[in-house]
Structures are given as structure tokens and as C-alpha cells.
Symmetry: C2
Subunit: 152 residues, 2 copies
DNA sequence: GGTGTAAGTTCATTTTCTGAACTAACCGTC
DNA sequence: GACGGTTAGTTCAGAAAATGAACTTACACC
């Protein structure tokens, strides 16, 4: 199976991978969440080849994650902005970044995330929408277990 | 730049991508979180080529996300289990799955996640470790803004 | 007329992936 | 004891995708 066919798998993770299942795509979204909008910015920051940046941006536009807008008529120039669908990826990147910071060996400089309402530096905690308590692997179960779930 | 060189970028997202920045890798981790341990299981479920499954599993072992264990001596047979580092990816997959379910057009069957302590079907909410309130794009700022942050 | 900027496209070479077949090391059975 | 089945891979030719560098278009500034 090819990457372009992953969207035929009826699983939310597979669907997500058909859109953002690529390292360069994720770096582009990271940059976009930080405010980058220009082709050259994405290319310099990710250091992916220009062809890949162009192809990935087009793919993201196709999937409604970014939109391409002309910001100058002569010469014609375009920029890329996250749509609401794209901005909704922010929690994904934040949780992913936290995994990287706490689990991977290579140190990166401290993120310095601050929650403005309370004013504190914080880490993201995934909680239950119903009771507000943190959710862990051990406190989740599935009404209908996903196909082919096995027991150790 | 190649995928194998992404780990030279000193950014937590880039570091994460050097480990899990690939669609097949994420599908393997999805399966592992559901309890899969065998090569054949991963290959059947992801439908990636056998060579890719073998290469991705080896990469995950290299990065300490999974461990390879002999479960039968004759004939020698191995299985793959998530390490604590790998299990720590569960919140990432859960938040990603929620993005997919709420933002992507193609419907997938309902996930049926239930939080056992409170007993409710739930959705994951990312909150502040300090005050417990939900975190949104608008309520975060950065002490030292990431390099090359721009304003719209 | 020359230099610079921005958003790409083109292209030859290199790298990676696919799909199918093959291997190794057994077990069960007819 | 030959035949088929299982599991965890490896091998390989052909196809697809990525790389890096150069090139293109369309201006603006000096």
C-alpha cells in the first residue's frame, strides 16, 4: 500500500496519517502555528527541498488544513495560512512536543509555554471531558474494542 | 535534508519526527497500543510492505519505543512490545484521533472511549498542569518565542 | 542594465518503496 | 517422510519519490 492510499483505511489514525503522516508536513504545520506564512519561510526552516515544500503545501490546501491567499498582485505572491482545521492541530503538536521533551534523550531548549489565564509555566495534561480528571492508558476502555485487539 | 538527518534539528517536534515522522510507524504504534505484538499482525493490519514493517520496527527498537523479545526458542520467534517511552505516546494518538474524528470529512466508526473512573464516554481535553483549565491557542504564550516567529 | 526577492518548476541522479518470491526453522499429519 | 502450515524475516527487479541545483516569471529598486 502507498501513502496516497492510506485514506481508504476506515480508522481515524489512518485518516489523519493520510493528511499529516509525513515529517515535512508536520514541520510545516509547526512553523505555521508559530506564524510562518511564506513559501520561503517554510523552505528555510524545514530545509526540505523546494519541490517537497511545494507538494506538501498543496496537499495541505487540498485537505483544508491551510489556505493559499494572494497577498500581492504584481508580482503575484501567495501565502499560506492555517484554516480552523489546521489550527485544531495545535493540541496535537503540543502533546507531541511534550512527549519529545520528556521521553527523548536529546535535549532541546526549554519550551517556556505559559498559560495566560493563570500565568504559570505549564505542561499539557490530557483529561476527560466529562469529569475533568487526567486520562491514562489504564483508565480508558473501549465500548467496542478496535478490530484485532489482543491480550498480552 | 533527508528524514535520517531530521534529528540534527534542535526542536522537540523535529526530534519527535525523527522517531515517528512516518505514516507506517504511527500505524504500527496504533496497533501496538491496541495490543498487537507480532510482525505478521503489524504487516496485515498496516498493509505496508514487509520490508518497511521490518525497517520501521527496527527503527522503533533503536529509539527505545519498542523492545524485541524472543517468545519462543525453537524455532526462534520474536515479538515487539512498547516500552514506557512507547506507551507514553498514547495521549498523542488519542488527541490525534480526536482531531481526525472532529475535523476530517470521512466518517469513521465511533471510537467508544470510556473513562473507567467516572464511567462516561469522553473526548480528550488538553488542560494546564497548573490550574487545570483547558488550554487553547489563544491562552498560550511563550517566554522566549521560538526562533523566527512572525505576526500575521 | 544589474541585482534582489518571492514563489515556484524542471531535471538528472540518488534513494526509497513495492510486491512477490524466497529462506530458515520448526510443527503436525496423512 | 513428503507435504503443508506458521512466523519472522530477507532479497530483488522495477516503480515511485526525493534531492540539490539550476532555471523561470514577474516585478522593484538603483
Amino acid at each position: 500500500m502507498r501513502w496516497s492510499e492510506i485514506d481508504t483505511i476506515p480508522c481515524p489514525i489512518a485518516q489523519a496519517m493520510s493528511v499529516i503522516g509525513d515529517a515535512w508536513t508536520m514541520l510545516i504545520i509547526r512553523d505555521a502555528l508559530r506564524g510562518s506564512t511564506r513559501f520561503e519561510e517554510f523552505q528555510r526552516s524545514t530545509r526540505a527541498s523546494r519541490a517537497v515544500v511545494a507538494e506538501r503545501l498543496a496537499r495541505l490546501v487540498d485537505h483544508g488544513v491551510m489556505q493559499r491567499e494572494q497577498y500581492e498582485a504584481r508580482p503575484p505572491r501567495y501565502e499560506y495560512r492555517l484554516t480552523p482545521r489546521g489550527r485544531a492541530l495545535q493540541p496535537v503538536l503540543m502533546v507531541l512536543s511534550h512527549w519529545s521533551e520528556t521521553q527523548l534523550p536529546k535535549p532541546t531548549r526549554p519550551t517556556g509555554r505559559r498559560h495566560t489565564p493563570c500565568g504559570h509555566a505549564f505542561t499539557p495534561v490530557v483529561t476527560c471531558s466529562e469529569c475533568g480528571e487526567p486520562v491514562t492508558l489504564e483508565t480508558i476502555n473501549y465500548d467496542r474494542p478496535p478490530a484485532s485487539a489482543a491480550k498480552p
